[in-house]
């Protein structure tokens, strides 16, 4: 049996029945990593020794018959979440040797639940990008076509899940960084409501937009992980004191009578025909399951990308100021303090990060603040209102996750604007703070996965799970695996 192919629930069943051991499961995962990682390049750090050290405790829990939902489950973590004692690079040269002295809230919750940390996955430097081509170290490859990118910024996590190099993974999503790579890699990616999951220990890109979420082989695994990582955290003031339901409880519930909004602004002239066809087919499928499609309008959609790039870069310019070579991470020499600062940041950051720091510094500058940052905040309010209005009449909104399937490495690398547009369908969700999930809904003629995005109300991940699970169970897209 190829244990690395298991999902969380199946692995749980076999572990609890003592048909397999935690060590055997880890062995299988690392055998798979050994076999495919040189092609996929999903990992920044492979934490093999550490993983085996972690194995004893959950095995004991299992043996005692009191296993927790993640006891012994091998999971990969995007390399922008701090793991105590394991280097956390954000795929940036400036943090190349940064070993956090503390644990992020999400990983400590996973730890308490007995997970096994398999490794830290590659990303676009500081989560800034849509392809992992902005990684300070290497580009991860799409397991469905190694010439193509896996999407980003959580490209390493999405590729690792698609290539079965882990059972599940965590990613972070600021403008689509979980959903877009999940879509491009044919896996399930959830960005929860802003405030649902603690950001403590997530290296900040844009604090008001960043949210940690899951990348999994199917919808149920996402619900299982969400049960563990969700909930108020006293270390994160922006985490919400909202009760966390058992997300698996709604799986299998009927979706009959649910109103599904189809925003006309998301089916635009010139969008990829194959993507459009797959998404329209998916809507038909949902209709056949009893959902009622309703055409809606999200009138300020056109401003989302511009608004996002003003706000995200503004916050980033400030969040990244701490990488100054003084206290930790990379330091370049300089003839004086200012020189050291400048050399450190010039050599430590990549081009895209610098581009965004410059942009954000500009938009916050006196004389420009009102025209850019303040205006963008106002537009953000309008975009939020769009969603609030829409959710007065519908239970969820369905759109494509990305305008195209995976593109070739290098194809958009020199054109940042073109690259920014790959997040055109996902960005509004971050701006308004609502949850969104991407699930596989078909393949292009090139055998590349296509993703369907379902968007829900604030703190209504349950509706997303319900709809996504109903769709998933009535289709077979999620069962296809890449050939590598």
């Amino acid at each position: 049996m190829e244990l690395y192919r298991l999902d969380i629930s199946e692995a749980r069943r076999l572990l609890d029945k003592k048909e397999i051991t935690v060590k055997e499961l880890i062995d299988s995962i690392y055998q798979r990593v050994d076999a495919v990682e040189n092609k996929v390049k999903a990992f920044m750090t492979i934490a093999k020794d550490h993983a085996y050290k972690m194995a004893d405790a959950p095995q004991k829990t299992i043996n005692s018959g009191r296993s927790l939902s993640l006891s012994g489950i091998p999971i990969a973590i995007k390399d922008n979440m701090c793991t105590k004692g394991i280097r956390t690079t954000c795929s940036s040269k400036i943090l190349e040797n940064f070993i956090p002295p503390y644990e992020s809230t999400v990983t400590s919750r996973l730890k308490d639940n007995g997970y096994i940390l398999i490794g830290k996955t590659n990303l676009d430097e500081f989560a800034m990008g849509s392809s992992t081509e902005n990684s300070g170290f290497f580009t991860t490859r799409n397991p469905w076509d190694l010439e193509r990118i896996p999407g980003g910024s959580s490209g390493g996590s999405a590729a690792a899940v698609a290539a079965d190099e882990c059972i599940a993974a965590l990613g972070s999503d600021t403008g689509g960084s979980i959903r877009q790579p999940a879509s491009l890699c044919g896996v399930v990616g959830l960005k929860p409501t802003y405030g649902r999951v603690s950001r403590y220990g997530l290296v900040a890109f844009a604090s008001s937009l960043d949210q940690i979420g899951t990348i999994t082989k199917n919808v149920k695994d996402s619900a299982i992980l969400m049960n563990i990582i969700s909930g108020k955290d006293s270390c994160d003031s922006t985490s919400a004191p909202v009760a966390v339901p058992d997300f698996t409880r709604v799986l299998g519930h009927e979706i009959k009578g649910l109103k599904i909004g189809i925003p006309r602004e998301y089916f635009i002239e010139g969008m990829d025909k194959e993507v459009e066809t797959s998404v329209r087919d998916a809507i038909k499928k949902l209709e056949s399951l009893g959902a009622i499609p309703v055409e809606i309008s999200l009138p300020h959609t056109d401003y989302a990308v511009a608004t996002y790039y003003v706000l995200a870069t503004s916050e980033a310019s400030s969040n990244l100021a701490r990488y100054d070579g003084v206290k930790y991470g990379f330091r370049a020499e300089g003839k004086d303090l200012m020189d050291m600062y400048m050399n450190t940041r010039a050599q430590g950051f990549g081009a895209e990060v610098k581009r965004r720091i410059i942009l954000g510094t500009y938009t916050l500058s006196s004389g420009y603040y009102d025209a850019y940052y303040k205006k963008a905040q106002q537009v953000r309010t309008l975009i939020k209102t769009d969603f609030e209005e829409a959710f007065k009449t519908v239970d969820a909104i369905v759109t494509p996750t990305a305008p195209t399937a995976a593109f070739k490495a290098g194809e958009k690398a020199d054109d940042p604007l073109q690259m920014y547009l790959s997040d055109i369908f996902t960005i509004s969700v971050n701006l308004s703070g609502v949850p969104g999930i991407s699930i596989p809904c078909g393949f292009t003629s090139n055998k590349l996965p296509i993703g369907l995005q379902i968007i829900g109300k604030h703190f209504d991940e349950e509706s997303l799970f319900k709809i996504a699970y109903a769709y998933e169970q009535s289709t077979a897209w999620h069962k296809r695996r890449p050939n590598i």
Binding site: N80, M81, C82, T88, C90, L95, F98, P100, P101, Y102, S104, R199, Y200, G201, L202, V203, A204, A206, S207, S208, S234, C235, D236, S237, T238, S314, E315, S317, S318, L320, A321, R322, Y323, D324, V326, K327, Y328, L337, Y341, T361, L364, S365, S366, Y369, Y373
Partner: protein
């Protein structure tokens, strides 16, 4: 031409919380460098601030004491700049929506009451400290050390309206502010240790002119005694510039207490664009009315009210009441002594004289504060009772008081141990009187010839002989009887 100064003060006060403003580290002064730090206050990647509620409470208290409006909705902002002692590359402060606004306080200058407006009071975090040293330990070397124990210590900034018109008013305002802060127990008010810091905005204009002239900001006024001096210097300097046909520049100037002058920082500061924007890691502060009401009702009696009460309740002069209420512990000491001595008005005046006189003298001799006073208020009251009973004389009382202060023993014990009981035995006193008369025939003759002032000389001699223990009333009676 006559000129008028226009002064506004920005005062930074360190808030007396046990822990820092956004993490749990201790705020204790004087520990080994970098021992009171954690990932949050040293700005590790991924950490988040959580507001210390005590800070908020203390600032609201101050707001009430300064007659401010407490904003129901307030928020933090980031002030961005690079400096090695600023771990995140930004300081979390308040900008657009401070917690307290529109207040005032009253000062008395030359007998006139004057209202000074308070523009705002806001919270912020302190930075660390840079220590510049060369490898050999001298000044001006190649090395700088950063101590982050102070980073994240809570501060409040109290900004006055430009209502101050003279250095004397500024000094009174600072004194008043310090008294209030100490009364509230929110700041120890120690300028020399830096827990109270004062920057001044100063301009001068021809008397009668309504418009403000260009102002200079004077920083580094690091002691109470320099508030007046620095401002006097700066006002004179600006008048001289104007009279010589020059223009006052808008600039930051540093007070140099050794040279007694202010010096331009030459663009170092003012080139800064702090790029303020709302802090996305902290939710807006929405204070509950009930909590704020509770804070208000728990305010101690403030100095102005206490002073007036001392006048009406204890029959003290304004001057004495002011002196006794300047520091809350002194006022408390006074009230406790009064309560255990007597309810009559003369009693409270007698206590006032002892506190202002002997007690203050003894404390000053040892540079002690009233809080360090070894003498308990009750002990003074008991000593005064002994005086009333005639057990000791007023003269002896001073000795007894000093002895109580030094040993901490009660008056009764001291009187007994030292044999200080007043001699009221007429025959014993008569012996001394006779002896003095016999020894000083010349003076006796002069006295008899009409030099009645010599009575004092005789009393003095008798007291010397009886070591001050003779009952002065009896001495007087006997002298008159024998000499006349």
């Amino acid at each position: 031409m006559k000129y008028e100064a226009v002064i506004g003060l920005e005062v930074h006060a360190q808030i007396l919380t046990d822990t820092k403003i956004f993490c749990g580290c201790s705020t204790k002064f004087g520990s080994e460098p970098n021992t009171q730090t954690c990932p949050v206050c040293i700005g590790m990647p991924g950490v988040l601030p959580v507001l210390n509620k005590k800070t908020l409470e203390f600032v609201i208290k101050t707001g009430f004491a300064m007659n401010c409006t407490i904003s129901p909705y307030s928020r933090f902002a980031r002030k961005n700049y690079f400096y090695p002692d600023l771990p995140k590359g930004y300081q979390i402060s308040q900008y657009e929506l401070p917690i307290c606004e529109h207040g005032y306080t009253e000062i008395v200058v030359d007998g006139n009451v004057k209202k000074i407006g308070i523009t705002r009071i806001h919270m912020e975090e302190d930075a660390g400290k840079n220590i510049h040293e060369s490898a050999s330990g001298g000044q001006g070397g190649n090395y700088s050390f950063v101590d982050l124990n102070r980073a994240g210590v809570p501060l409040m900034e109290i900004v006055s309206e430009p209502d101050i018109r003279s250095p004397k008013e500024a000094a009174e305002y600072m004194k008043k502010l310090r008294t209030i802060l100490r009364y509230l127990g929110v700041c120890d008010g120690n300028m020399e240790q830096g827990s109270l810091r004062c920057d001044a905005n100063v301009s001068v204009r021809p008397a009668g002119q309504k418009e403000f002239s260009t102002r200079a900001e004077v920083k580094n006024i690091n002691s109470f005694k320099f508030v007046e001096k620095a401002l006097e210097y700066e006002i004179k300097r600006q008048i001289k510039v104007i009279e010589e046909g020059g223009k006052v520049l808008q600039e930051t100037r540093l007070w140099d207490s050794n040279k007694g002058i202010t010096e331009s920082m030459r663009g170092k500061e003012e080139a800064h664009d702090y790029r303020y924007f709302p802090e996305p890691d902290l939710v807006p502060i929405m204070v509950e009315q009930k909590w704020v009401d509770n804070i208000k009702s728990s305010l101690p009696e403030l100095p102005d009210v206490k002073r007036e009460r001392f006048v009406s309740e204890y029959g003290l002069s304004e001057y004495d009441a002011d002196l006794l209420t300047d520091e809350k512990p002194l006022a408390d000491w006074y009230e406790e002594a009064t309560a255990s001595y007597s309810l009559s008005l003369s009693g409270s005046k007698i206590i006032s004289n002892w506190v202002k006189g002997e007690l203050t003298r003894l404390l000053n001799e040892e540079n002690k504060t009233i809080e360090e006073c070894p003498l308990k208020p009750k002990q003074l009251a008991e000593m005064l009772t002994l005086m009333d009973k005639g057990t000791i004389s007023g003269k002896i009382a001073k000795t007894v008081f000093e002895e109580m202060y030094k040993t901490g023993n009660d008056a009764e014990v001291i009187v007994k141990e030292k044999g200080l009981v007043q001699i009221s035995d007429e025959s014993a006193i008569e012996k001394a009187v006779d002896e003095v008369i016999a020894k000083n025939p010349k003076e006796v003759e002069r006295f008899k010839a009409g030099d009645e002032k010599l009575i004092g000389f005789f009393v003095g001699q008798i007291m010397k002989l009886t070591k001050g223990k003779a009952n002065p009333q009896i001495v007087n009676e006997l002298l008159k009887k024998k000499l006349l």
